[in-house]
């Protein structure tokens, strides 16, 4: 993490959600560069490079769509955000 991130800076975030999120949602609503991948019954979107207003809006959007957020971390150094390496995950990675 940046030693002194401000409220205005764009930061890379990682989100893990329960269930398989629709790829269309990521294309329509996530910042460019976000990659969607699946591990078992979870979806991972990262890096979500945006500022505080962007990430808050995205979290609320997902919440209102009924998604369960399992993990929300800063992308750099967030080991818990990494999905378990598995052939399925590798094969289902989708840059959007």
């Amino acid at each position: 993490m940046n030693s002194h991130p401000t409220i205005a800076d764009q930061q890379p975030y990682c989100l893990i959600l329960r269930g398989r999120i629709d790829e269309e949602f990521v294309i329509a609503c996530c910042p460019p560069g976000a990659v969607l991948s699946y591990t078992g019954d979870t979806s991972r979107i990262a890096p979500i490079r945006t500022d505080q207003a962007g990430i808050l809006g995205l979290l609320r959007h997902l919440h209102n769509l009924g998604y369960v957020i399992l993990a929300f971390t800063h992308e750099e150094g967030a080991s818990s955000c990494r999905p378990n390496p598995s052939p399925a995950a590798a094969s289902s990675k989708s840059p959007v």
Partner: protein, 874 residues
């Protein structure tokens, strides 16, 4: 009641005298010039988002519609009303057709709402910018869908600007990818060094050295609210170095610290005023006087403006103001700390002021904030019914949840209001518990005390039963309500009679239903309860047309329309059905132009109100009208739309209406297989006994059997005549008689007897079109038996002999009506004269002429007539 709109919410704020930010204004202008659909100004509080939008709006070359949103606008109806009002400040007619629906408490389907606005804008030939400020307060899915629809289909004439603390739940990435999005974010809005110098050294005249200035910039991270408040703090600080050094932590902490610093430097009267008025979302000097008990609020507001203390003007007249949201929150913290016992009295005074100003919504909200449950209940008891009828169902729901459990037990009045709300929202299962609470409350009191309320409780129960199909229980409860209403409360009598009429309509018992519905309409009108009156009128007109009582339907509908026009009240959504019923009557009377007008009005209103039943009902009649003009493809298109709507959800009673018209169209096209398929899909066979609910389907079977020359037709016709006579369904009887006459056209005495009976029924109600639809065979018979004058004037002249060269030339044959129009064209009649002769509109004549030209490959009348003569068609 009417919706009182605050003009200050839809007036762009005056151009602020803030730091000029030309690069950001230029970015917004560039987005507009490149015809991008959306500008997004997204950043946390205190970054100067509204200031930037207002600065841009003040110098923008395009007209600006502005809407300052607050928490209560997260309600589709309220948002819709304000949104249209904001647009109408620029173009007074924009979205006018949406207002009646919104005022009636209905939110049009977002796609229809957006299409209406965008289509109207497209005709204006100029770009309109719409700014929605504080859009982060909007979470309602319907409003978000409307926003998405506006953006998805926006034309270059519409540009949306969203000012928000967080990204809205709309597909921003897609807009970004399509270069349809201009963004200004926190990183763009934070002050740079040059801007900080302008603010602190030039505007505030602070003698800060470079180090101190850099320290302010570093500590505040260029956050504009922080820089400004730091400047205000430094202005009178005895120790600027210490103050700057102590700036640290989150924005919130910093702001809190600085606010205390700034407040401490204000005169006591100003401090007191700021803190006490912080409970107000927006305010005038009069409201501030009322809340604080002062008389100098106007002067204090002027002082705050001059001191630049985060006051945001809400209009150009200097009437309404609000505090910057962040500042207000911190002032409220101060209020809780300094005057905790004063909070409730301040809200109480605000509540009373708003009630006196006729703003019950704000009055109730402040009473709730004052924790004055008694007053909340009293206000709801006084205004609840009116608010419910005005469509404030979201607010009522919110207040219901805010009231503590057990609160309703003391107010049967509220139990009933919320019960009606549940019923109107289709939450039938939740009505019963409220009824039980009301009845429990009654049980504890002598009956005489609450006679009207007890009667209303029974009326609510009757309406609930009627709605869910418990007919016998509905009739019992409605009659009990009417009997228990000795004081003659007309509003309650109207509600009970409405349930009674609805129940009798379903029974079916035409006579009692009409009597009850007429009483409902009359009582409701006397009580000024427009919604109940119009519901009764809608039931009555539909019932009357269903039973063939055209004159009753027309008289009821016309009186209701005149009443609406006279009272200048918006028609409720159910009124689409009344327009549709009148359209049907006018069609039967062969007044096609007016029929079309009312049918289109019905479809328009029904579509906006998402009232599928009235839309489908009117589309069926419109398809019939279009088919009668010879446009089978047009009729098929209308029916396909109706079928789609039916699939989206509509009551079962409209299904036979659609089926009957689909069969009629297929038969008109000679497509017996499709007609048969439609009928088989209904699951009703021609051999099973007809009932009130299947009469239309059986009538369609009769048409098909006749077309197939099936011998079962005669028996079915006899059966239908018998059932129609028993159930009093004049319309079915009339149609069956005419179809039977067609069946017996080679047995003239029988056909004549049947037709004469049909004529006797038809004359009483003015039926004309039904004879014309039956075609030349019936017209011929009518001429032979000496058609009565009232019908004779509508009969077409005998059709010319069938053209002989059609097949040989491969040309599409003319319909019967087109052949007549062609003959009149050849006689040199004008369109108007043809229209008058055939009793159709000039537009219909034009339509026929266009079709004739197409079929004859002609470009004008001379060519068409010459070609027709060549072909022997004339």
């Amino acid at each position: 009641m009417t919706h009182t709109l605050l003009l200050s919410k839809i007036t762009p704020p005056p151009a602020p005298s803030a730091i000029a930010r030309p690069h950001l204004v230029a970015r917004l202008n560039e987005g507009l010039a490149e015809q991008r659909r959306l500008s997004l100004i997204a950043a946390p509080a205190g970054y100067g988002k509204t200031t930037l939008a207002a600065t841009w709006a003040a110098q923008c070359s395009c007209p600006i519609a502005w809407l300052a949103l607050d928490e209560t606008d997260d309600d589709p109806i309220r948002f819709g009303l304000y949104f249209v009002a904001a647009l109408q400040r620029i173009h007074p007619q924009l979205g006018a057709s949406l207002l009646p629906v919104l005022r009636a408490g209905q939110f049009p389907p977002p796609a229809i709402f957006a299409a209406t606005i965008l289509n109207e804008l497209a005709t204006l030939n100029e770009v309109l910018v719409c700014v929605l400020d504080d859009f982060h307060l909007i979470h309602d899915p319907a409003i978000l869908t409307l926003t998405e629809q506006l953006l998805a289909h926006a034309t270059p004439s519409f540009h949306l600007t969203l000012v928000t603390r967080e990204d809205p739940a709309i597909p921003l990435a897609r807009l970004r990818a399509c270069n349809q999005l201009t963004e200004v974010r926190a990183v763009d809005l934070r002050f740079d060094r040059a801007e900080t110098i302008i603010l602190l050294r030039e505007r505030m005249r602070l003698a800060l050295d470079d180090a101190a200035l850099d320290q302010v910039l570093e500590r505040t991270e260029g956050w504009p609210a922080g820089v400004q408040l730091a400047g205000l703090s430094l202005q009178g600080s005895p120790d600027p170095a210490r103050l700057v050094a102590e700036l640290s932590g989150s924005h919130r902490f910093m702001l809190s610290y600085l606010t205390e610093e700034v407040l401490a430097r204000q005169p006591p009267a100003v401090q007191e005023f700021l803190v006490q008025t912080s409970i107000l979302d927006r305010f005038t000097s009069e409201l501030c006087d009322a809340v604080t008990g002062r008389t100098d609020s106007a002067a204090l507001i002027d002082y705050l403006i001059a001191a630049n203390l985060f006051l945001v003007p809400q209009d150009h007249t200097g009437t309404w103001y609000r505090y910057h949201r962040l500042f207000a929150e911190l002032l409220q913290t101060q209020l809780r700390r300094r005057y905790p016992t004063l909070i409730a009295p301040l809200h109480q005074r605000a509540s009373h002021w708003h009630e006196a100003q006729g703003r019950p919504v704000e009055a109730i909200d402040h009473a709730l904030a004052a924790n004055e449950q008694g007053r909340v209940i009293a206000l709801l008891e006084r205004h609840g019914w009116a608010l419910l009828n005005a469509g404030y169902t979201h607010a009522l729901e919110r207040w219901l949840h805010a009231l503590p459990d057990g609160c309703l037990q003391t107010s049967p009045r509220l139990c009933l209001d919320f019960g009606w709300m549940r019923l109107l929202r289709g939450q039938f299962a939740q009505v019963e518990p409220l009824l039980i609470q009301a009845e429990t409350a009654f049980a504890a009191q002598p009956p005489a005390n609450d006679a009207a309320l007890r009667a209303e409780s029974l009326a609510l129960r009757a309406n609930l039963n009627q709605t869910v199909g418990r007919i016998a229980e509905a009739i019992t409860a409605a009659e009990a309500s009417l009997a228990a209403n000795p004081t003659g409360n007309e509003r309650v009598a109207g509600l009970a009679a409405l349930a009674l009429g609805g129940a009798y309509r379903q029974l079916p018992d035409f006579t009692n239903a009409v009597a009850a519905l007429q009483r409902a309409a009359q009582s409701a009108r006397t009580a000024g309860d427009l919604v109940t009156e119009m519901l009764a009128v809608a039931h009555l007109t539909l019932l009357a047309t269903q039973y063939g009582h055209l004159r009753l339907a027309a008289a009821t509908a016309t009186a209701a329309i005149q009443h609406l026009e006279h009272s200048q009240t918006a028609p409720p959504s159910i009124f689409g059905a009344v327009y549709g019923a009148l359209g049907l009557v006018l069609y039967e009377w062969n007044d096609l132009a007016r029929s079309r007008e009312y049918l289109e009005r019905s479809i328009h209103l029904g579509t906006f109100a998402a009232h599928n039943a009235s839309v489908i009902y009117s589309q069926c009649t419109l398809a019939r009208l279009v088919q009668s003009e010879g446009d089978l493809a047009g009729a098929a298109h209308i029916l396909a739309t109706a079928e789609t709507l039916l699939g989206q959800g509509a009551p079962e009673w409209v299904r036979p209406e659609l089926l009957a018209q689909q069969v009629a169209l297929a038969l008109a096209a000679g497509d017996l297989a499709t007609a048969s398929a439609h009928l088989r899909r209904s699951g009703i066979t021609p051999d099973e006994p007809a009932t009130h609910g299947t009469l239309l389907v059986h009538l369609s079977w009769l048409r098909l059997l006749l077309a197939q020359r099936d011998p079962r037709a005669t028996d079915l016709a006899q059966h239908l005549i018998s059932v129609a006579e028993t159930t009093g369904r004049c319309d079915i009887l009339l149609r069956t008689l005419i179809l039977s006459a067609q069946c017996y056209q080679h047995d003239q005495p029988t056909a004549t007897r049947l037709l004469n009976r049909a004529l006797a029924i038809a004359e009483a109600e003015g039926y004309v079109r039904i004879f014309l639809e039956a075609g030349e065979a019936i017209s011929h018979l009518l001429r032979q038996i000496g058609c009565p004058p009232w019908l004779a004037i509508h009969l077409p002249p005998p059709a010319p002999a069938a053209p002989r060269q059609i097949t040989a030339t491969g040309l599409e044959p003319l319909s019967e009506r087109e052949a007549t129009v062609l003959r009149l064209l050849a006689q040199g009649l004008t369109y108007a004269a043809i229209a008058e002769h055939l009793v159709i509109s000039v537009n219909t004549v034009r339509f026929h002429v266009k079709t004739i030209y197409g079929k004859l490959a002609a470009n004008n009348r001379t060519q068409a007539v010459a070609r027709a003569r060549e072909l022997g068609w004339l």
